[in-house]
């Protein structure tokens, strides 16, 4: 059980008033709010530990470096990676996916195939499209069904001797589907194919253990797990990261530079060109520590209760259509009511102080599958309550009246 009052007290923003209403923040899949320990970590970092990391001879640089590398260890532990050298700090999930697409892409030849699912966020489609175009490779879509689920049988059929990698969301940002990634990985590995997991919507919501999954790559964002914006993580198995060429070039990532030849630094620095966001990394670690103290199992249970309650309550509304009906779901609900446009619904809910996201959620192929332009998405976090879901349900009822539905 989690102490919701205590958690909410850590998030001052939840007391904000919006158009005279108390903020009901249900846009956590887009970004989460930040608890005091995270904001304090940012402030303390700049006040007391700000110096460029690595190679600094002076005391302050040593302090900053130690904090930055301790953060890497915190991340390692959080996702149970084997080594800290497998943890690369990035700007977020998108950059992490781009790093793998761009560098793994260099290993591709004409006719090779990459498999992604139909429910992917654009950031797990477009980087692959770019690299496929460049290399003459083919992007293959793993389709979804009406419940928003993939079929492992279809995956088996799609995999062939040309398949080089499978990249798939752990949890869908639009349909809430939690994909059976362990099984996906096992099928891919039987065929000698590595798997990249987009963990943007899973790592913040339940325990993700990269060794247990046997994932080859995993990406996630700091800002979606109550950490700062602009910092994220790419996990990669050492054997893969060693094989891949560098991504960006510059300081930090080199070993020796001469005009004749440059040799590259060891992992993880090979993939971290330039001064890293060491304030971001240490504050991300503060967020992960915060989540660990609550307990990821407790987070998962709390959000499951919320999503079950929300699904039940929303389904009582006449004209409600929920998109995504997978057996295993994460903490969000995507819906439409009658023929009210999601933008109209979102505008009215906003006037009631309820923050939801509307539109295609950067997953246009998913929307196309359902033949819709977009949905309203309510996504939950550790501080949300059933009372807030009641406010959402009442808000929808008021909106329905306005639109004569």
């Amino acid at each position: 059980m989690i102490n919701i009052e205590k958690i909410r007290a850590d998030f001052p923003i939840l007391n904000e008033q919006v158009y005279g209403h108390k903020l009901v923040y249900l846009d956590n899949a887009a970004t989460t709010q930040k608890p005091k320990p995270v904001v304090e970590s940012i402030v303390n970092g700049y006040y007391h530990k700000n110096a460029n990391v690595h190679r600094g001879v002076h005391w302050l640089s040593q302090e900053a470096t130690e904090a930055h590398e301790a953060a890497r260890e915190t991340v390692r532990k959080f996702i149970n990676a084997e080594k800290t050298s497998e943890i690369i700090f990035t700007r977020g999930t998108t950059e992490s996916l781009n790093i793998v697409a761009a560098t793994f892409g260099e290993l591709l030849s004409e006719g090779d195939e990459i498999i992604v699912s139909q429910m992917e966020h654009h950031s797990n489609i477009v980087p692959w499209q770019l690299v496929c175009e460049k290399k003459g490779a083919r992007l293959v879509m793993l389709p979804i069904d009406n419940n928003g689920e993939i079929s492992l049988e279809t995956l088996k059929e799609l995999i062939n001797e040309k398949t080089r990698l499978v990249s798939i969301a752990h949890a869908s940002n639009t349909l809430a589907t939690v994909n059976p990634v362990k099984e996906v990985i096992s099928i891919a590995h039987e065929n000698g194919i590595p798997v990249m997991i987009d963990g943007a919507q899973s790592v913040p919501h339940f325990k993700v253990d990269v060794q247990e999954l046997d994932a080859d790559f995993l990406a996630f964002s700091g800002h979606k797990i109550y950490g700062p914006t602009g910092i994220g993580v790419l996990y990669g198995k050492e054997k893969w990261l060693d094989k891949l060429p560098p991504y960006q070039a510059g300081g930090e990532m080199i070993d020796k530079v001469t005009f004749e030849k440059t040799t590259f630094n060891v992992l993880p620095y090979k993939f971290e060109a330039g001064t890293p966001d060491f304030i971001g990394s240490t504050s991300l670690a503060a967020a992960l520590d915060y989540m660990t103290a609550i307990g990821m199992d407790n987070v998962e249970e709390h959000e499951r209760e919320l999503v079950e309650y929300a699904t039940k309550k929303l389904n009582e509304i006449e004209g409600m259509r929920i998109y995504g009906n997978a057996k295993k779901r994460s903490g969000l609900v995507s819906f439409l009511v009658s023929d009210i446009h999601p933008y109209d619904m979102g505008t009215i809910l906003d006037k009631l102080g309820i923050a939801v996201r509307t539109g295609h959620h950067c997953a246009q192929p998913t929307m196309d599958f359902f033949g819709i332009e977009g949905t309203v998405r309510a996504s939950f976090g550790i501080y949300n309550t059933k009372e807030e879901i009641d406010i959402l349900v009442n808000g929808i009822a008021r909106a329905k009246k306005l639109f004569h539905k």
């Binding site: 158009y19 446009h341 999601p342 933008y343 109209d344 505008t347 009215i348 006037k351 509307t358 539109g359 332009e373 977009g374 008021r398 306005l402 639109f403 004569h404």
Partner: protein, 140 residues
Amino acid sequence: MTINEAQDEIISEFEFLDDWLDKYQEIIDKGMNAKIDPKYKTPEYLIEGCQSKVWIHAEYKDGKVIYESESNTDIAGGIAVMLVSVLSGHTPDEIIDSELYFIDKIGLKEHLSPTRSNGMLSMLKQMKLYAMAFKSKSES
């Protein structure tokens, strides 16, 4: 009626609506009923926001610009209807020189933000562009 008289009329229409819900009701009802000739519901006349679609067609008749609009959303549609009712039937010069203050005055200034994906600014810009095009055509 001048453009400003049309604006003032909308302002007085909204003056008695204290509650924001009533104001939105008024806009939604305006938006719901707006229909454009289907032959103009083409990409050529589309002003695409991130989420909503608004079609605005303009024609030039007897020295005046006549607009019509439709949207797939009721709120953006209602705002388009108000813009049409204020600007339609005026000369290109009157439209180009007009300053629209009614949206702010009726308490919907959040729709004026350029960061709002479906703001009225892009609609207004398109309407003024039509006026400029008709003006340069008639002068040439």
